[in-house]
Amino acid sequence: MSEDIAYEVMMDHYRNPHNYGTIENATNRITEYNPICGDTVHLEMIINEGRIEDIKFVGRGCSISQASASILTETVKGKSISSLNDLTDQKYLMDLGVSLGPARERCALLSLNALRKAIAGDGTAP
């Protein structure tokens, strides 16, 4: 996938986010801020028997942070939690296929970090 197309894919996720919303019977919830800029991603998910059965997000922030959240939900939905161990920052950024530069990589990683924290936190968050 060329970088231009990858960028267009991101922009499309930004304008038409997938899995946008909340989940009433979510088992894990988290709101994560980027302290540098205030970008926000809120994740809600149902984790059942070590698997992410469903995941949705609500957020506000730049196109990269929000597109990435949308892409992340697509990526991890239905996956086992143990499989996330292989999803390193580096791999995730590479899969996005867009070279972002250090400042905006933080935007892209906001939702992945949120997901890790939500899973590490046991059970139902507020």
């Binding site: 919303g21 540098i36 800029c37 205030g38 609500v58 957020g59 922030g61 929000q66």
Partner: protein, 427 residues
């Protein structure tokens, strides 16, 4: 008259091109570029005078001490201080404010109050919040819709419990110029100590601590053409003398015995350890550079820049800018957004037209990122003023901030860049 294009020639960094484009630097509220004279002064110190100050009795040390103390006098004079001993060299405004909160804080008790405003930088909030643990109350004076300080609210929040009032002279987000003299007068009427955060005023306009009658003022050298790592805390000498020290160590003592220590006189009482001599000399060179232009000229130039931005912004559909519109209440800081960027709230996010769907909005990071492609450096984010962002109900803003090397042509390029950016983004 100040000629920004000529001024620009004095700054070596502007010879650099990034991806073949000239640098248009509009993030001066964060830090400013350095003229050659400042860089040379630092180099000269290290090449010809480097030694520790106040300690050696050999020639090099005497010369270095002399240069350091002359720098102190020059910087002190620059802000109208009538006694150079009132000028303490610190790392930056943040350190000055921490010093004050810590040292003044020692004598504050439960239910004493500190009055701030909602337009403060985090560096004039967090150090005071450290005192909340011992029961000190922090109050915040509100703003009016036009981005100026609400003086009625300010006055109503000063009580007999108010021991400290600490206010920014110029907002680093709204550009609001606060009436420091009046705030000092009201504070003193209530016998409160009045602290001025001069980080955004000392570099940009004539500031006279005597005329304002502030008790303390904090500022950063790097925001006024000087090097990073040096700044000033000016205090009325009688107050500084009574204030307990902040850090302990060499230089700040008179005598040390195993039983205890006595303090050196000001300003050394507040300068524990080997000071940043080279950068103090660099800051002094920056002061010379600014004096040569004249602070009234600097102020006038920035007023013209803001006025020009006000004129040009009209052609940008959807652009909302923040801060007072009267030029006499406004410094050279220009915060704006393309469309609405409200603060995050899940419910509102689900109900309202999301920013992604609304074609009218473009997040400030995207704005900054897009115009960076044209070589224009602006800031986006909360600008270390999260309580202000909350008050304005915005998540973040884009911000252009002007200085002496910025020209109207650069503002043209900013707005052309914004037009292109929004077009590319599909508005």
């Amino acid at each position: 008259m100040l000629n920004p294009t000529k001024v620009k020639n004095d700054f070596p960094i502007f010879r650099r091109k990034i991806d073949g484009k000239e640098i248009i630097y509009l993030d001066n509220a964060a830090t400013t570029q350095k003229p050659k004279s400042v860089i040379d002064a630092i180099k000269d110190y290290y090449e010809n005078f480097n030694s520790n100050v106040h300690r050696g009795i050999y020639k090099l040390s005497e010369e270095a001490t002399d240069m350091y103390e002359k720098a102190r006098k020059n910087v002190s004079d620059f802000i109208g201080g009538n006694d150079q001993n009132g000028l303490v060299f610190v790392r930056n405004a943040t350190e000055a404010l921490n010093l004050l909160a810590s040292s003044i804080g020692q004598s504050l008790k439960r239910d004493d109050e500190v009055l701030l405003t909602l337009m403060e930088h985090h560096s004039n909030i967090v150090p005071w919040q450290f005192l909340m643990g011992k029961g000190v109350k922090i109050k915040y004076a509100d703003l009016k819709e036009d981005g100026t300080l609400n003086m009625e609210d300010f006055t109503s929040k000063i009580t007999q419990h108010t021991k400290v009032v600490s206010v920014t002279h110029v907002s680093n987000v709204l550009g609001t110029i606060n009436d420091a003299k009046e705030l000092a007068r009201i504070s003193h009427e209530k016998e409160a100590t009045f602290i001025l955060d001069g980080a955004q005023s000392v570099p940009h306009m004539p500031v006279d601590v005597k005329d304002i009658d502030c008790d303390y003022v904090a500022f950063s050298g790097h925001k006024m053409l000087g090097p990073m790592g040096i700044g000033g805390l000016y205090g009325k000498p009688d107050l500084l003398s009574k204030l307990p020290p902040y850090m302990g160590g060499g230089e700040m003592i008179n005598t040390v015995t195993t039983e205890g220590s006595t303090w050196a006189d000001i300003p050394l009482k507040f300068e524990a350890g080997t000071p940043n001599v080279a950068d103090a000399i660099g800051l002094s060179a920056a002061v010379d550079y600014l004096k040569n232009i004249g602070m009234k000229e600097v102020r006038k130039h920035e007023s013209e820049m803001i006025l020009y931005a006000f004129q040009e912004e009209k052609y940008m559909e959807n652009l909302k800018s923040f801060g007072p519109r009267s030029l006499h209440l406004r410094g050279g800081v220009y915060s704006f957004n393309i469309g609405d960027i409200p603060s995050f709230n899940i419910q509102r996010e689900l109900e309202a037209n999301s920013i992604r769907i609304s074609r009218a909005s473009m997040h400030p990071h995207d704005v900054a990122s897009e115009i960076d492609k044209e070589g224009i450096a602006i800031r986006s984010g909360h600008h270390c003023a999260m309580p202000l962002m909350a008050r304005l109900d915005v998540q973040a803003t884009a911000r252009a901030s002007f200085y002496i090397y910025n020209s109207k042509e650069e503002i043209d390029k900013l707005f052309i860049g914004l037009q292109n950016a929004t077009a590319r983004f599909g508005h």
